[in-house]
Symmetry: D3
Subunit: 309 residues, 6 copies
């Protein structure tokens, strides 16, 4: 389990960051670990996977994409067949490659869909940094659409600066505002696009703190809000009634030299209710968040099945 | 006009800051200027005041409190009488002293009222730094009420740190959050208290950017929001249909070393609609914002009268 | 103080009930007590009134009408004059008679106004028992208007049965429902009329538990809700920031033979926010709750003045 | 009573149209009738006015402006004095002239206020034709403001075409839409301005059918709606609980050659609730509709007083 | 048909009560009736079932669970095969046993899911008595979760007392309130759980009168409301446009000795719209009510199919 | 391509009107064109269809029903087989006949469902003319239900007069109003039924301008709104992120002799958001608009498949 344990350590220490990077690293570690092993026996392999899964799951509290990646590998091996070491290796290799290819195809598909929502003269407001949202913007610009982006700075970690940097590099007209000016600038916006860290069985979306506030204000301002995300961010444990755990981060991110006695609360995410979400822009197209569970069941049945009852 | 011009310069250069300090400085400058003058003639004095008024008004775009202070002095002199230099000096001195005393009494009254809204175990959320709100908190604590304060950091100038400092000094249990976490922490709050930079004839309140977002979220969360402010912040020009001008501040406050090409918008205030405000805690007690104009007409008729038609 | 003490005892013991009866008893006790006294001296009389006031105020937590009645007597004596015992007696007698007459005139006026809101075929929903609302119904029927009343039973004390009884006696077509069916029957209603136990400076109304729920549902159903009440129910202490105290009554009213260990909560009133109230039908006509404070200041200035700063 | 009767006939027959024209004609008729009479005796004059008032009031169901005009004349004569025929004539003449001058001054004042709400690039949506709103537009254009107007056609009488004609004549950029496209074009609008036929004591506004729908959509779209109207449109009978009567006009206006058996309903007005109205632009400036009653009491006390209890 | 007729009679007479008991009794009666019969012929059996179905359906107006139970038996026999009396008996026995087992498994699954929604310190408000909700509470307590329940008394039949009794027996901290205090106590609640009598194809839920009022208030208070119910409560007739019939019960339940002439309305249920329901906690996990039809189609296709077009 | 080109011309010139007529004409033209051709070769036929499809699609901007009809024919041929000219003809004929029969069956099914939503005494409000809605009304009347219809006149083309004519012919009690009176008459309505021009993947409905305004007002008034439409109006391109194009029609429809310089905007449709739609009454029964995509996928999988990725 060395490879898996080391990868889990690096994930926990934030040496590997970003939902996509974490998922890829976990799949690769799992794949490598199996290939390193001398065992071929079905039960041994499956119990090894089970063990690796527990270690990797424990490395981060809320990371449905990584968990789904591992669930995929497990499900494929559980339903797959091999006769010897060689075949197992090939299978494992094929499965992990397959997952990454499917993910890339899913991303391409949703970027294409999202791009169609942006016309010339559209003003789009976004919050934090989402690689899916950024890809939609860059692709729209590449296609020659002349639009504007307004991005929040996104305290405490200023991820909005990453977004702004990517936009400027792509030559997109970009304006930055403080987070508390969101409601004010919705008057100028035609559209809100945000990413997702997790999607629940009720159709709610977990994303960077401030998203639910933006969603509330967008609803008030009648500006449609779309979540741009692969369905692989769906968290199947919410079907079973589990609440999404909201990570609480270090106070130092907010005020490093805070006076003694001051309490600082720093939750990283919040929950945006489905009624504030016009649509989820995903590999299935633009869908209503209310029917997310049906879409996942059809597209990725193994996410549901792998979980058991 | 030297004194007045110098004071206007210092106000413009932000050497004098805070609505109250600015108002006091303006009244003192105006008072000193008149006393320095050799003239006693009614018309000369009034035209001198008119001149000083224009200079001081021009020093800051939106500063109704300072403007009302000057309107008060003008109105008192316009309706007052004097026979010689000595009597003029006494009148002017009395008027400016009187204004400051009235303001102090008004503040004492509203702090007393605001304090009664806070019970033990109450959790109060506030945004930015308002000296009136801070006084309410400190006085409540002094009276032995055991409550909690949640304050935002208030980007870009971190005025929330000033609030937090004052609260800690008074021994109040205080928690700081980023601005975009407001909606999240309203779940824990029983009450929202904010200050005001200006109040309009419709009953709307101009305050630090983010206040209108907080008000929207407080309304959604059914947490009552009160504005703590003297009625001297009422802007009579709004009766005449004028919009409140929203000051736009330097982009450097948000991102000093922003990449070239990035636009940064930095409005200092926003407008909170009267329907989100449960009450205005002022020298007249707790009143509905919808009837603000009637309260001002009764309490400070000169604010209305001094403006003409 | 015997008379006053005994009256306070009877009020506390619920031997005297109903806001109007309590107010009348308190005024009469105060009036009698002063007349019984041998003193004529201004200061002695006023200090006696102060003492009586404290005793009577303490007899019930929230009873603004009774308190206003006593404030009226106090204010009239504080501003009145007398030379001897006889004149004092006459003054006191005149004042208490005057109060009751004014109250009757106020009631007549508001009943007349309320009646005009009811047309033939109107279906009016009401909650609990309010003598003002009942008078409006009876007067409308007397004038020949052919309308229908829907009344809730009003747990736990079934005051709706009193309302129903009065309606049937007046020959009004009356339907009773359980409290939880309010929202359902708002589909059939054109109008909601309720009474008030107290009105605050913000324009909110304290009334029988369930009123705020009815108001919420009426708002959702677009059925206008009017509060029928004399302005004498205004509580001036709310100007000063005081919260209205909500009386908590005996669990036995809800379940006399409840199993051991069961907690029972029985608040008698709740608060209905001004935005759910289309108008207050009072002696000044139909007024917006947002301007209640102005109306009280004009009609009953002594309510405000008697309170001091 | 010949003059009064003939004027009432012409009003009823729509030979005299528009709230202002009707009010002027009524005041003139009343004034002429008194001057024609040989009587000087106070009681005779007042009873003549009473008679004339009834005739004129009966000429149109809802016409508060005309009614207030007559109330003004009556009130001035009731409180005025004269010694002979000549003095009576002068008084009557002065009163009617005074009313018209006051009205003109009020209009000038509110137009000035309304104009300040329009900036360059503002897009204003309006419904029907209101002479006050048109005056605001024309004056703003005259001052050099470069704005756009969107007006509805306003079925069934196409009053929007009158508005459009006036706008084009003033050189204003004007767009016409069908009534049912209101909500759609609110996306482009910054402001809604409408007139008023009557204002109630609760702060609601009666105006051309469709206004309440526009107000609902404007509220949803967060576009502020202002009512531009003199306070002389206030209907004091609503204080007393009276409902505003909504005139029902001929089906022929909607479909002249409708098939037999088809019912056609054609109410001329609807009621817009105060919570949808950001402000009333009137001779007192921009005021909250919630405090309309206080404003009328202060500005035109005779409107209230003339009505009795 | 003796057994079926007798069971239908007992259901109608409320000798058998509760959706589950009624469903079990109906299945058993149907099963016994078929086994008692001498016939084996397919057409005879199916026409016998058709006859029994009509009798049982007619025994209660709205009872989708019982109807679905019978639809299940019918569907299994319609698609099943048998060669002789013995095989038919076995089939019938297996089918009815199977249905009950499936139902028990479904209940176990949803209780497990619902339990995960309750954490320590959670305050849950519930209305009426639902065996599914009670099971969730008891199971959460058994697992060691330390939460509180607030239950309404639920007039007119006081089913809240049954809930309270079960809670106390399980050692759960329980508070009872009157129905009209729901909105008030939502301030203290973190969660609302209610049962269901029927679920419609639009995703609406029919439940005890008062539920829709609670849902409205929970929505206002931002307290999530979940419906705990098996999908077997889905009423397939609503797909076909049928309205759910709302049972009207005896006035005596509300006021046994009501005065003559008083009308009493006593509907047993009301309809809660899907937008007020955060999720349905069912055997499929936590799902959005908007996708209920898809969930039923997948899980219990025979509910849809058995109905025909 | 003569037949196809001529049909496309007639569609463009509005010689063929109404979604159903257009769809039938397009299918017939396509079918005839293929039968006229001498080719039998699979690739030739499919490329011919591709060509015809482009011509027909271009004849009208937004016409999902016609497009789906053509998609159906294409999909059937793409998946079908034939050996010679004769078999191809039969297949083509069968496919186009089959489509029309399926459409008729779908219409019958949804009319049957819609009819069940109307009871005696129901007042139904409708906007514009929808043949599906009219069929529901006529069928309900034929079944003996005694209900009332309120219809708008529907400017600028007065399609409401067509609806009114059909209603009167069927003997239905019908009332016509102007479009801007919708909100007013919702007070009398129990139900709103409208048609659809297109349905999007998010569950929104494109229909005659004014529908979204009606939906907003119906939501405010708590009157349920149902869209009556076959799922064949679903536009699969919206899955891929495309916006529905809103046709802008001639200004002459609004004001033929408009003064020069007046801009006139005349969009034919608007978008009604899914949250305002209680249900879609379609061939699948009453379904939630949030799950429309799932219903289309199940019922008409070829709509999705024919589109590719």
């Amino acid at each position: 389990m060395d490879v898996v344990i080391e990868t889990a350590r690096r994930i926990r220490a934030l040496e590997i960051q970003g939902a996509t990077n974490v998922a890829i690293a976990a799949v690769n570690a799992l794949s490598e670990q199996i290939q390193l092993s001398d065992e071929v026996d079905r039960d041994s392999i499956l119990s090894k996977i089970e063990e690796a899964k527990e270690i990797l799951f424990a490395s981060r509290e809320t990371e449905p994409f990584m968990r789904n990646a591992i669930r995929y590998v497990e499900w494929r091996l559980r339903t797959g067949e091999w006769r010897d070491k060689e075949e197992l290796r090939e299978l494992v290799h094929g499965v992990s490659e397959g997952f990454l290819e499917d993910f890339r195809a899913a991303t391409d598909a949703l970027v294409k869909v999202g791009t169609r929502r942006i016309n010339s003269d559209t003003v789009v407001l976004t919050h934090c940094h989402s690689s899916a949202v950024s890809k939609v913007f860059v692709e729209a610009k590449r296609k020659g659409v002349d639009f504007r982006v307004i991005c929040t700075e996104t305290r405490p970690k200023y991820q909005g600066r990453i977004t702004a940097g990517e936009m400027l590099e792509a030559g997109i007209d970009t304006t930055m505002i403080v987070d508390s000016a969101m409601r004010n600038f919705l008057k100028e916006a035609d559209l809100v696009l945000v990413g997702a860290d997790a999607i629940t069985s009720e159709g709610n979306v977990i994303n960077k703190i401030g998203t639910s506030q933006l969603a509330l204000a967008a609803d008030e301002a009648r500006v449609p809000l779309y979540v741009v995300s692969t369905l692989l961010k769906f968290d199947p444990q919410t079907i079973h009634g589990e609440y999404e755990v909201i990570e609480e981060r270090s106070p130092d991110e907010i005020w490093p030299e805070a006076p003694e006695g001051l309490k600082i609360r720093n939750p990283a995410f919040d929950v945006t209710r489905r009624e504030y979400i016009h649509g989820i822009v995903c590999e299935e197209g633009v869908i209503s968040p209310h029917s997310i569970l049906e879409a996942v069941r059809r597209r990725y049945p193994w996410i549901i099945e792998s979980l058991g009852a």
